[in-house]
């Protein structure tokens, strides 16, 4: 209470004051809800198909008849692209981050709590996979799994699935390291020692003391990671290993990048949508973190 620093405008109470206000929260979650809704029910919207080219309407500007957000220079409808892209981008990013944080989180927590050789092995795994570049990993994964056997062209795994797997592999060590660090600091706290001293089983200590405390910071970072994955996927699209051209927000950007000077809206609009989503995810993550901080402080 006493130690309000003079230097910053933030103080302990200041944080409370600076908590994301309800308006921002509603805006952010509203945007995410719209995106998620679109991802699920986009097919029912009365729109042209995202991957069909309207050959007579190349590069229509915004607010054209029949094409609300115009078309790109290939004649595909930008709005339908965004609607379809919501499913691909969010699907890939949310799934990869969710699975990645569950696996990474568990590995990290177990490593931190068991210490010894388990910790060494898990940490080594994190370091090794961090040292392998994302691009190499994804290129190899796509070559390995997303390539249909020529004798049976329907045999390869869907590209999106392979992307999810490789991005999950990218996420695991990042969130895993975070979880390990956080679990390490929590497991040194007094209440854990107390629990141990009264003979509580390791597993129940993990369940009741460590995991609930590690979870909040993991979740706030996971929200950020979800945003980052949306962006990474766009970068992969340029190398031809991302989603098909125009199938995700990132690949819309990648596909239309050459026409930036000619039909700027076809890059700016998807970039704006990605930006908004990443911002909303960040906001949500922040809100989440502060809510949890709040909970802790009330205990």
């Amino acid at each position: 209470m006493c130690c309000t620093p003079s230097l910053t405008h933030e103080s302990e109470v200041g944080v409370a004051k600076g908590r994301p206000g309800p308006l921002g929260f509603y805006l952010a979650s509203g945007w995410l809800l719209v995106c998620v809704f679109t991802a699920f029910f986009g097919d029912f919207f009365p729109l042209p198909k995202w991957d069909e080219y309207d050959y007579d309407n190349l590069g229509l500007p915004l607010f054209s008849d029949g094409h609300l957000l115009g078309t790109d220079y290939d004649g595909s409808d930008v709005l339908s692209g965004l609607v379809h892209g919501a499913r691909t981008s969010l699907g890939i990013s949310f799934t990869a981050v969710f699975i990645g944080s569950v696996i990474g989180g568990l590995l990290g927590i177990v490593a931190a709590y068991r210490r010894g050789w388990v910790d060494s092995v898990v940490t080594m795994y994190f370091n090794v996979s961090l040292a392998i570049p994302t691009i190499v990993l994804t290129l190899v994964m796509v070559a390995l799994f997303a390539t249909p056997n020529v004798d049976d062209p329907s045999s390869g795994w869907p590209r999106e699935l392979v992307l999810i797997i490789s991005l999950t592999l990218v996420i695991i060590p990042i969130l895993g390291r975070l979880a390990r660090g956080s679990a390490l600091s929590w497991s040194g706290r007094d209440f854990v020692l107390v629990a141990e001293s009264i003979g509580m089983k390791k597993r129940s200590i993990l369940r009741t003391h460590i995991i609930p405390n590690v979870l909040p910071s993991m979740m706030s970072v996971a929200f950020l990671a979800a945003g980052v994955v949306i962006v990474i996927e766009g970068g992969l699209a340029i190398l031809g290993v991302g989603a098909n051209p125009g199938a995700s927000w990132g690949s819309m950007l990648a596909k239309n990048r050459g026409e930036l000077a000619i039909t700027p809206h076809t890059t700016l609009v998807p970039a704006g949508v990605i930006g908004l989503t990443v911002m909303a995810l960040n906001y949500f993550g922040d809100y989440f973190r502060l809510r949890i901080d709040d909970r802790e402080s009330r205990i």
Binding site: L7, T8, I238, G275
Partner: protein
């Protein structure tokens, strides 16, 4: 005691290096398609057998790995086979001699620029934490950091390069050839890569600095009558920089191979393009050597950061913390 810790870290680093290169050996072998067919589609039987032996396809992966490793340790990075050649090619080392310095410089400049801009920005945001200024800038930074670098690069090329006619839009000029052109040729690529990093770094720094600003020693410094700028730069920055350094080390490794898209846009033709081409054309030896270099870079930067931790925070030197 200290030396033992250092040795232990070094041993771990070597083990990581070993595991990375070994797993790449295995992964590369799994890649679909017979490399002989790809690298030497029209060779004679003897030629095929020779290449098969050279690529170690006739021995098991462990033997092959070690023979590659010993070659690498001797400085032999393998051969880059001409795409439709008869098994002849260019040494990977001579390809690297062209590509690696470029990528390292781009990485270095990007880091310097990102940090030079991110640090004051992070300090400013922490100083103004939770004010409207902070929130506005933070949100803008987030939006900007979510735009992929290639989009920023192309937009810059068009606006700064073509419309304002300020900078060259393509090409790389070596420093030795013309220092000022060298910098000019790299401004846009470096800026495209930096913008996202500036956003990331300044936000990381902001969070850590806000925590540090709550420390008593900041109030103490303030009560000594020191100016805010002095306190922020001299008292708060250093104890708040560990996350930033960790993140920077990770990014450096990633930038060397990961700038491929920017390399392509600005016709810089560095390490990233080499790597992706190597994978697409199944340059087995090259892939392994290139990935090994990235892993080495990753490890070296992490070791450097460990040393920097000690420079920045004396408690680490003392064996605490």
């Amino acid at each position: 005691m200290k030396y033992r810790v250092a040795l232990k870290n070094l041993a771990k680093a070597v083990l990581v290096l070993f595991l990375v290169t070994f797993s790449i050996s295995i992964l590369v072998r799994w890649l679909p398609g017979d490399p002989i067919e790809i690298l030497m589609p029209f060779a004679t039987e003897e030629g095929r057998a020779a290449l098969r032996a050279e690529l170690g396809l006739d021995i098991n992966v462990v033997q092959y790995y070690f023979s590659w490793l010993f070659d690498l340790l001797r400085g032999d990075f393998g051969v880059w086979y001409a795409s439709t050649g008869d098994g002849g090619g260019v040494p990977v080392r001579s390809m690297l001699a062209v590509a690696l310095p470029r990528s390292l410089l781009i990485m270095l400049y990007t880091m310097v620029v990102s940090i030079v801009f991110a640090v004051p920005l992070g300090i400013f945001l922490a100083y103004r934490a939770e004010t409207r200024t902070d929130k506005t800038i933070s949100n803008v930074l987030f939006a900007v950091s979510s735009i992929p670098s290639f989009a920023i690069g192309l937009a810059l090329a068009f606006v700064v390069g073509v419309q304002l006619d300020l900078l060259p839009v393509i090409g790389y000029v070596p420093f030795a050839e013309n220092p000022s052109e060298h910098f000019r040729s790299l401004v846009m690529p470096v800026v495209s890569l930096s913008i996202g990093l500036i956003a990331t770094f300044s936000r990381l720094l902001r969070v850590d600095m806000i925590a540090t600003l709550r420390e008593d020693f900041v109030t103490m410094a303030s009560s000594k009558g020191l100016s805010n700028m002095w306190i922020l730069w001299r008292h708060v920055l250093r104890p708040s920089s560990s996350t930033l350094m960790t993140s920077a080390a990770l990014q450096m490794g990633a930038l060397i191979g990961g700038a491929v898209v920017i390399e392509s846009v600005f016709a810089l033709n560095g390490f990233g393009m080499l790597l992706t081409t190597a994978i697409a054309t199944r340059q087995y030896l090259a892939i392994q050597s290139l990935v090994a270099l990235i892993a080495i870079a990753y490890i070296v930067f992490n070791l450097i950061v460990d040393v920097l931790y000690a420079v920045v925070d004396p408690r680490v030197r003392g064996g605490r913390g």
